[in-house]
Symmetry: C2
Subunit: 418 residues, 2 copies
């Protein structure tokens, strides 16, 4: 079979599985999640042995330490996957729930019922745990899923796929509800994103290059974010100790993630008082500062920021800093350089808090809290399948509910249109 | 300027207008809607004169009577546009409204705020009233819009655009909030659907050919429906008089629209009793029946249905009829041939009504009511911009709320991530 016909066969089978999955009870779906979790625990040695094949190949190919680290499945990795599945099982099942009912003057009762999206394709890079996490969330929402992991995790993903398949079979769900693409070649990605007859949604997770290539070539709607250039604006009325804690947390706690702060905007009236202490804390943590002229005047040790620093997503212990004359300038800077991901304000002023919330055009806007809270778990969605900075369908972190849609249900007693 | 640069300039201007529009109050938006409505009334003679240019050209080019009819702007057409705008002004403004607030264990307050989508591109065919209707709905939801009407309505659309622009200016809204493409060439459509940097959503309205071409070439998310192959299933437990009224209404009241019934499925136990009378009523109304073998046995005057009749959207007084042995067969037929638009069941049986609602995978599923109710106004959304059979973002009729999205608002008092 050619790669294209392999993928088409998988996509058709996924559509058939999805039709069945949409009608399955929450109990059956949860039983499958537990069965897969049990399988992962029982087959830990098998998983680690298959993972070792990928690791050996990765070393031969000279992959970086960071990539090998992400690729490695340890006992803790398996434990985390198992716990993740059990947590997803405990989430509410949105499928079949109905919103408020509206009664029309002619007596028709109108409501919206949550239904699965259908078939989801997920394209991702090295971490093999995504295979299990994404499968669990899609399954909970009643969707069939086709997973296409990185070629460097080929054996690991195939091993996980086999365990998932057995869990599905043992709990009576269609075994094609979760499929992992058994092809290393990149051609498989292009075949997958052109199955618009069978796949409803594509979610790419990984570097910006991967995501742009998927968006440009897909005939299927894509939910994604390219990057997170997150700003925190320290207002003239900020509690400066609070602002320090929030900015430190947003930059330093985990600098390599999309909801870390990349640019700090500081009102000029508090810049001197705030920046000197803040720079001391950042200095101890090894954060390199790249500032505007005014920042460099206050902090002579800071590097001078270039134009390329303002749109930069460093994913590292580097921070761009700009002193602004007021919130208008802060909002204008955010409007120009924002990636529509997360923006925060630290302020004690009621009107400015309200205005910032209204005007900052990002998926999560925070007042007096760290940008690191843009996360499905932290916002109370349960686990997340990713963060969308597209405005269509879902804007922000996507949990189980964002993997569903609604249809209208109309109940009558003989109404006809006049 | 080339066509592409004309469109790019428009798209950039729309993005800037959208940024301002997102912050405008409901009062200001409503004032603009009323100002445009007044302008239409005052300039009725100008509109009709410009429309006459299109009509003369249409006659020269030998357009069909139906097309000329759709193109014609009469006093009633203007009156309907004016009323439409006033009705949209009276709808609730969703922008800035917030859903329920969730409190996290760390004290963070999380809620979702409705925000405009941004810039919407609408591509449509002959009816010039769409120019005003779509502009009104997009404006109400705080979106800038670029409208690309059919070349046959060129002068009419430009005249309406001029009146809309004046209404925007007079009420202090950005005049680029509504723009009509001033180019006849089809190239303008392709330029428009590739402005992914500035446009958030494309809505094509028109024939299936237009829509498929837009979907295949657009880099921007598209909301659309290709066609409406709507089914009504007359169950063994149907009230047959009710079933007759509903089926008659769904087929005959307005056969040329997407929510008209195209296939009628009848349980075999009631087929004889139901079909004979029903065929009599349909015959009086001039409906041609194309039936399965069993239908033709009961109704010898019916034509024999071909395979091509089951997926057909006739948009005419033609109806495919199939006798089924049970609801399983009805649901299987719907699953195979449905366009995911509208499906109805007529039944007095509680369990089967529930099951049909759950399993029919269409944007509107009706019990004991005509498929003709798949309409934003009828379902209580207010006016509609179209019906989506895509599952992403909006499934079913799209009103003002479906032209918005939500962002997360997080309010804290210094929370950081542990």
């Amino acid at each position: 079979m050619t790669i294209e016909s392999t993928i088409t066969t998988m996509a058709k089978a996924a559509r058939e599985a999805a039709n069945k999955l949409a009608r399955v009870s929450s109990e059956q779906k949860n039983a499958a999640l537990f069965a897969i979790a049990d399988g992962l625990e029982e087959e830990a040695d098998f998983i680690k042995a298959e993972n070792q094949k990928d690791l050996s190949r990765a070393e031969e190919m000279g992959l970086s330490g960071a990539m090998i680290d992400r690729l490695t499945i340890k006992d803790e990795t398996i434990h985390a996957m198992v716990n993740g599945l059990k947590e997803v099982a405990q989430l509410n099942d949105p499928v079949g729930t109905m919103g408020p009912t509206r009664i029309r003057p002619n007596g028709l009762q109108i409501a919206r019922m949550r239904i699965p999206l259908g078939v989801i394709g997920i394209i991702y890079e090295s971490r093999p745990n995504v295979t299990v996490d994404a499968a669990g969330l899609c399954l909970k929402a009643g969707n069939a899923v086709i997973l296409r992991g990185g070629s460097e995790a080929f054996y690991s993903n195939q091993a996980l796929a086999a365990i998932i398949r057995r869990g599905l079979e043992n709990s009576g769900l269609p075994d094609k509800s979760v499929q992992v693409v058994p092809v290393r070649e990149r051609e498989a990605v292009y075949a997958l994103i052109n199955q618009e007859a069978f796949i409803d949604l594509i979610i790419p997770r990984g570097g910006e290059g991967l995501i742009r290539s998927v968006v440009e070539n897909s005939k299927i709607p894509v939910l994604k974010h390219y990057k997170g250039v997150c700003h925190i604006y320290v207002d003239v009325d900020a509690d400066l100790a609070m602002a320090q804690n929030i900015c430190f947390n947003a930059k330093v706690q985990r600098p390599g993630v999309c909801n870390a702060m990349e640019t700090m905007l500081v009102h000029r009236s508090v810049a001197e008082a705030f920046l000197v202490d803040m720079a001391g804390r950042f200095g101890e943590a090894g954060v390199e500062l790249r500032g505007c002229a005014e920042t460099c005047r206050i902090l002579p040790a800071a590097k001078k920021a270039q134009e390329s620093d303002w749109p930069a997503e460093y994913l590292d212990l580097i921070l761009a800093v700009k002193v602004v004359k007021d919130m208008d300038e802060a909002l204008a800077h955010i409007a120009e350089y924002s990636s529509n991901h997360s923006e925060a304000i630290v302020t004690g002023n009621y009107e400015r808090a309200k205005r910032f919330v209204r005007e900052a055009d990002s998926s999560v806007v925070l007042v007096n809290a760290s940008t690191r809270f843009n996360d499905g778990g932290q916002l109370g969605l349960g686990a997340e399948i990713g963060i969308s900075t597209s405005k269509l369908h879902a804007f922000g972190p996507m949990g189980v509910e964002e993997l569903t849609t609604t249809k209208f249900v109309v109940q009558g007693n003989g109404q006809i249109r006049e």
